[in-house]
Symmetry: C2
Subunit: 270 residues, 2 copies
């Protein structure tokens, strides 16, 4: 009996050429999942992935489905796969879903976090999962600017020019900018402000190519005063990638929450 | 004019053969500092390090001193070195100290944290800086056991048999066991307890070889019920390494605070 299995997958994207499997054989998360599933079940398996995160982007809960006739109980796939996966990838949950469930063709809400480590000096233990900056960011200005993005807009200014999307209209449900003080202190002669993480948290029903990283790059320009928060509407209206800020580096970005909001199939992965 | 410069150094110990420079040329933190300082000043420099952390152990604030006739202002060494160091190492602070200051022959209080990621499934983004365990730890029992260690004791049971220390008497000032809930949740069919980090924080005036890792390994045995907290005094009294628990893996350990408590020279590095 064929079954469709859904996997929730956490990964450290450092060193991977992104989520989506590629023919060239470069290491990808899907490529590793396909290899491990093929090893486990003894037949070739190709997963259908959900969010195609970029090279270097991390996730707590990206999704993938695959079909199998294996007799392994659905909830045991996670354990059986983890012993065959590198420690940079972990299947958090596995469960059976309806045969017609497709992770890209269903109603979802995804939340991404962009983390900035903001301190007088970098922290080697945060370098892989945050973007380091020494600028004095005005977090309130970043919050104010973020509010203009909420709602349904044409996000063409916040989309890589290399997109193949048919429409650049998307709906953003929430933009938060949180400040988290970090334990360490600069000491002595270096009387500096306290180190902190600035977390830009964006939730939406769908995102364009590089969209969250361009939002983060633009909010950072606003945070350091290069642009004013009130310029956000005109950046949106420009419908031109050059109006927005730079694409923030991949290492700061993590997919942190995946909500499936189909009638009769409501699930949250974090 | 010769000056003695003190560096406070943060590092990700992953992949390094420890702090102390080795003749064999394997990568060490001191080896990298010596190379960068020699490049910077144009003359061979060898730092005198403070805590000789093991291979794979991390630090926010290990110390090193060196003598130089360079005209670089003392507080600028940090910036000049960081451009010559890999991003796994960061000099947080540099400052001039008296010519007779020796980081191992002075009164200090050091604090180490041993971090356990305790959850139903591992987290790839925590794998380098925590030890993963799925056991249900009794944190209260670990706290109770930790209290027996506070004070001056012969810690022979908590010292690697490969030590060269003249005495195994040391003073521990504080042992804390903190529980930090983690954002992510196991979902659905996997109705599991919430993921958490358990942080074992140990402060003392000096530590034996592997001492904090053996304390962590012993507290974990107590936390999972293999030993009772009340057995701690007899483990100490045994003066035998075999009485204590295993040496916990290096990746969970970080030197987080270094206090110099010399009369007239009081400084804290975090």
């Amino acid at each position: 009996m064929k079954k469709r299995i859904l996997l929730s997958v956490a990964y450290d994207g450092t060193g991977y050429a992104g989520y989506q499997a590629q023919k060239s054989g470069v290491p990808t998360i899907e490529g590793e999942l396909n290899r491990a599933l093929t090893e486990l079940t003894g037949v070739p398996v190709e997963v259908i992935g959900a969010s195609r995160t970029d090279a270097g982007v991390h996730a707590c809960c990206n999704l993938a489905v695959f079909d199998t006739e294996s007799r392994i109980p659905p909830d045991k796939f996670s354990y059986a796969l983890n012993v065959r996966l590198p420690d940079r990838i972990c299947v958090r949950t596995s469960l059976e879903v309806p045969a017609d469930f497709h992770p890209r063709h269903c109603s979802t809400v995804k939340t991404y976090e962009y983390r900035i480590f903001n301190a007088p000096m970098p922290d080697p233990m945060r370098r892989l999962y945050t973007y380091y900056s020494r600028y004095r960011f005005d977090v309130e200005a970043m919050r104010e600017a973020g509010r203009y993005l909420v709602g349904e807009h044409d996000f063409k200014s916040f989309c890589s020019m290399y997109t193949s999307a048919k429409t650049t209209v998307r709906e953003i449900l929430n933009v938060e900018v949180e400040e988290i003080p970090c334990g360490t202190r600069a000491s002595l002669s270096q009387v500096c402000r306290m180190p902190r993480e600035i977390v830009i948290r964006v939730s939406g029903r769908g995102f364009l190519y590089n969209m969250v990283r361009i939002i983060a790059g633009t909010l950072m320009e606003i945070g350091r005063g290069a642009k004013a928060p009130e310029e956000m509407p005109s950046i949106l209206d420009a419908l031109d990638r050059r109006a927005a800020g730079p694409t923030a580096p991949a290492c700061g970005l993590t997919l942190v929450r995946y909500e499936i909001a189909e009638p009769g199939m409501e699930m949250v992965f974090e």
